[in-house]
Amino acid sequence: MSWFKRKTKGITTTTEEKKDTPKGLWYKSPTGKIIDTEELEKNFYVSPEDGYHVRIGSKEYFEILFDDNKFKELDGKLESKDPLKFEDTKKYPDRLKAAQDKTKLKDAVRTAVGKSKGKDIVIACMDFSFIGGSMGSVVGEKIARAADYALKKKIPFVIISKSGGARMMEAALSLMQLAKTSVKLAQLSDAQIPYISLCTDPTTGGTTASFAMLGDINISEPGALIGFAGPRVVRDTTGQELPEGFQTAEFLLEHGFLDFISHRKDLKNKINQYIDLITNQPLRV
């Protein structure tokens, strides 16, 4: 007689219930390193053993970059409409609703102004969790208004990109957001207001073909995927095997499209150091 014989047949325990620890206590990095989530948070959401930069959103970046996590959110009420009555396997408004319920966000970018190392800064930060950080009318408009704010008050501007590209459900309207955001960056540039583009994992498609590559400096975090066409598309189109590290931040740095790569814990210092240097101000400690 076997030791473990099932008395009842057809027992199906869902995977969820099989876990013996409550969800969210531990984080496992892609290389298999395990870390306590509280520790992870203290370490700027970077796995300490292998330096893996976990994908985070606007909430976390604001916490990292604004002093004492204090900031004023701009245009927090803007929401997407459905101008094209777009429907694929789902209706666009249903997708929006589902994304809003899941993420508690209004759309794929949040913009805010606050102090960083004691001086004002305007930050637009994308949220990948909201329909893949896709850029539609709302993302374009919020970035445009944030840039306007920076322009009017002469405050340095940072965009943290994290996006799969333009939002298909707004078709050409989302394509034109590339032009719209570029208009504002051109105005900032003409007014000599520093614009820093931080490309985080992943930055692809329409964001790369607009504001993500247009910074006075373009910077990134270790290992971030950055590219115009996604790796799958490149492989499928060319039939070529992609080299190791293709389209990583390190690859872009090597090919001349990034100014530097920064560990997340140093981001705040480095961004402000650049601002002080380029505006010829004394360096803040």
Binding site: D75, K77, S80, L84, K106, A172, M176, L178, M213
Partner: protein, 317 residues
Amino acid sequence: MEYLDFELPIKELQEQLEKCQVIGKESDVDVTETCKKIEKKLVETKKNIYKNLTAWQRVQLSRHPNRPYTLDHIRAICGDTFLELHGDRNVKDDKAMIGGLGKIGDQSYMFIGQQKGYNTKTRQYRNFGMSNPEGYRKALRLMKSAEKFGIPVVTLIDTPGAYPGLEAEERGQGEAIARNILEMTRLKVPIICVIIGEGASGGALGIGVGDRVLMLENTWYSVISPESCSSILWRSWEYKEQAAEALKLTAPDMKKLKLVDDIIKEPLGGAHTDRETTFATVRDAIVKSYDELKNLSPKDLVNQRMDKYAQMGVYKG
């Protein structure tokens, strides 16, 4: 002439007409009446077919193998005055993006556009109208040169997209397009953009920011091709017709959304059925647009252009 699937009734009538004419020539039978009848039916059939084109059919027309391409337009419009210019002064000369100076009347223009091939060999040579970063940088070099001498820029857009290749990524496809978009928003000379075929996403917008953006009647312009949209959102290549409808990518839709300024009418049956008329209409549209823009100061021109793009988008709250 090649026919698309929905054009087959036209093909049949065309063949009947030709046969009828041959009989008339080779025999003594008077076929004038019969030929006239067929001709009349042909015109009616064409009208019916082209009046009710679906979005997908327009996409097919925009890719028609006999459709006039960028250099066809330029050579017809400028004749001998066209002088092609090459190279990005950096890596190489991109054959998928052409450019050069030419005259319409007394006025010089800088023409820039994607170029497709007309047979297998030239299609490969032109990389199917898909530019690499050096193509966009060549375009920008020519635009800057035009700006320096106060020459208006005309871009002719016809691309299935920017080339998604390994080397393209290495040399910064995204950066090249982004740079062009930004610089075009503030270029101090008039920019007139004409979509003459396919307007696929960033690859099109990379030479597509202008004071006047015009679309030929049977072209498309969107953020993604209907095929790719189908494969991503429906996870199958089979829904391209639905995707084409959903994307609102036709000239009338784009005009309604105020994302393009005007539509250029094509001859009945599409641009390829009467190329000369097409060239003349495109030339007139360019001249008309330039006349509207030429007296604006550079500052007003740029401000108007920036305001136009700043207003694009639909949102609430």
